[in-house]
Symmetry: C2
Subunit: 206 residues, 2 copies
């Protein structure tokens, strides 16, 4: 499968499908129709079928999807059948909140290293993770073969942190700093800037 | 202008353009070309020109954009020429971090009310905002005519909070709870679930 031919908006919807299927599974459901999935997610059933057709379909016309099978297929497609280690850089208010968030570990993302340059934070243990000095970034990321990072440093420091991370093998960055990062080809960056999202919504409010 | 005919992906890029133009402005730049803007943001110049053409263009072929004029136009289009009040529901780790984040106020979003149902949190003041009981939601949102909300409650409570918010006039919700909310037509919901974003990126990592 050539991953680059699949539109990124399609890829972005797959985890949303998996999240909802997981909820159906917990409710004891064995089969779900694309119509019901669509209704629950606020998108069209034809969009769901079209998205899944990139990967082979998974459903027979009229009989709906087997919840467990579709969920397992999505987890394989998204490479979620094994856990991922994550490095977090920046343990301020937001970084601390993310370290305390149990949702990452529950979904197979282990924040295994937390880094900061504030001497008052170094050595502190948050949710079982000890905060270490940023100097240890290169050594640890290389030694552990980590590919995922979360950046929660101030905007002014984010690009240099991203440069250091990608230099030692990080290939996906979740960026909370309010700045657009420039990273080499092959590195996937997703920005989470709540202000930009609010600004997108105020467009519709007048 | 019929707002609904403009693709949402276009609207989502406008705040990104404004953010970058603001940076150029702070660096003392008066004029910027679509090529330079494109290069800085990692998208194509033709995409930028096409996005802006929905709103009239703002640039002359070959002469680039006037930074201040384009920024002011974008701020008007996005309804950012006046401040917005925001209600935040859920003052746990993440809600507290968001309350402490100065980036909202700097961009004209004032978190004017913070609500929680934990008696230990009620009355506590975080970054100048006193945490109040969730019971005050309806009265305050109606009295202040607030249209924007941030939800940082657990997944199990998010839908009922969203229902209460939309019932009293909230029209845009930034949702941090890891669940897909169902809201009435005309209510804009943006989800920020870091796990879903990591899961989208792991697709590309093998």
């Amino acid at each position: 499968m050539d991953k680059e031919i699949i539109p990124e908006v399609v890829v972005a919807r797959l985890p949303v499908y998996a999240q909802k299927l997981n909820q159906f599974l917990q409710e004891g459901r064995a089969i779900v129709s694309s119509n019901e999935l669509a209704e629950q997610l606020g998108i069209t059933a034809s969009q769901i079928r079209k998205d899944l057709s990139y990967f082979g379909g998974f459903g027979k016309q009229g009989s709906g999807y087997d919840v467990i099978t579709l969920l397992e297929n999505l987890r394989e497609i998204l490479n979620l059948t094994h856990p991922w280690k994550v490095v977090l850089v920046g343990v301020g208010h937001l970084g601390s909140a993310l370290l305390s968030y149990q949702g990452f570990a529950r979904k197979g993302f282990e924040i295994a290293l937390a880094l900061d340059n504030n001497p008052e934070l170094i050595g502190k243990v948050i949710s079982g993770v000890e905060v270490r000095p940023v100097e240890q970034l290169e050594e640890w990321v290389k030694a552990e073969g980590v590919r995922l990072a979360i950046i929660t440093v101030p905007a002014s420091e984010a690009q240099s942190v991203a440069d250091r991370l990608t230099e030692v093998g990080i290939r996906a960055i979740l960026n909370y700093a309010p700045v657009t990062l420039k990273c080499p080809d092959g590195v996937h960056v997703s920005d989470i800037d709540p202000v930009l999202i609010l600004q997108k919504m105020t467009f519709y409010l007048e």
